[in-house]
Symmetry: C2
Subunit: 197 residues, 2 copies
DNA sequence: ACCTGAACACCGTTCAAGT
DNA sequence: ACCTGAACACCGTTCAAGT
């Protein structure tokens, strides 16, 4: 009989964690579950990837607790980052599966509500929350990218102060760098509230 | 004899433009050039991808013209966006090849210099320019993602005002949305200059 | 009707066989 | 030494053959 979706998704996550996103193949997954390649409850690899991505982002379902809008937005961004990093190659997966998938849209709606509640016009709130999501996606992609020694080499060969500083930044605690970048955007949003509609 | 790197890169770009990034295969490329699969001047597909990515970003070599730091930084960000969008699946390519590849580092160094010239401490300048790059990467990934009808469907099924607004934002002119998000970050950087070191 | 397992047309990479 | 072209171990997807 066909394995259940929940079990397949769990096995798929295990495969990705152990072998990376490229290691998640229909053949390997089917073999692990003891079924033929077309015995999985997903019609294609793409559909399977969307299933995994959707589950990954389901952690964003509930809105952050009440409080000042900036703290709520920051909490939401942290949750999104956590969700994307909770699985190996997670950012790549979500980027490839679909940035506009239902669960991402759900998170976007939550973020938008936070800003609208705080008094921002709906159109600005939508554009703003999309910018935040794009920063989070870009940041996590860089975070999970295989860290080669290019920055160090570049710094050594050029003897350039700027290159050295960039290398240091790239090897710094990614969490603190994330907060720094997020704070930049939030400061920008603050100005948005002060400027006329 | 082996084809020259420049010719191979041009053929690779053509293949990507016509078939997408997944259509760029060693076999297809070799066939198009009339050489065996191992007759290409790149030892592996990964090396080839890095070559294409590097060339894509070489447009960022020269620093933007002199002027106020915010205008210079905005120009650089626009150039990065243009470069990433100049090839089909460009953002995906760069994200997969390596965010820390030499040419990206070069662009980062240029951006850092702009901020240091304007008086920002080097460590803050490095963190800031990385945040800008991450936003640009995230934004272009979303821009080039296959646009399905999820937002519209979501809006229709939920009858939710927020969903409608998000759908409108996603179908709005991406260039204007990019400028809006970039302006948010630049406003945040402005505050950075005003706050004590 | 359903599960089985092979087959199809690919892929990246390697290698022996010729000149 | 070098170019040739097949072979290797895969991949996603499909399908005929059995029960």
């Amino acid at each position: 009989m066909r394995p259940r979706r929940a079990d397949v998704l769990r096995a798929a996550r295990d495969l990705i964690d152990n072998e990376g996103l490229d290691g998640l193949t229909i053949l390997a997954l089917a073999a692990a579950m003891g079924v033929p390649p077309d015995g999985l409850p997903y019609p294609s690899r793409q559909a399977l990837l969307e299933g995994v991505a959707d589950e990954l982002l389901s952690a964003l379902a509930e809105p952050p607790p009440a409080g000042p809008w900036d703290q709520r937005l920051i909490t939401l961004a942290h949750r999104l980052r956590r969700a994307l990093l909770s699985l190996r190659d997670g950012p790549r997966l979500v980027a490839e599966a679909a940035v506009t998938d239902p669960e991402t849209m759900h998170a976007a709606r939550t973020g938008m509500q936070i800003l609208v509640d705080a008094g921002l016009p709906p159109d600005r709130a939508a554009w703003t929350v999309l910018a935040v999501i794009q920063f989070v996606v870009g940041h996590t992609i860089e975070e999970q990218a295989p860290r080669d020694d290019t920055p160090a080499k570049l710094a050594a060969t050029t003897g350039d102060d700027a290159a050295v500083e960039l290398g240091a930044a790239l090897t710094a605690d990614p969490g603190r760098r994330f907060e720094f970048g997020l704070a930049l955007i939030v400061d920008g949003i603050r100005r948005l509230f002060q400027s006329p509609a």
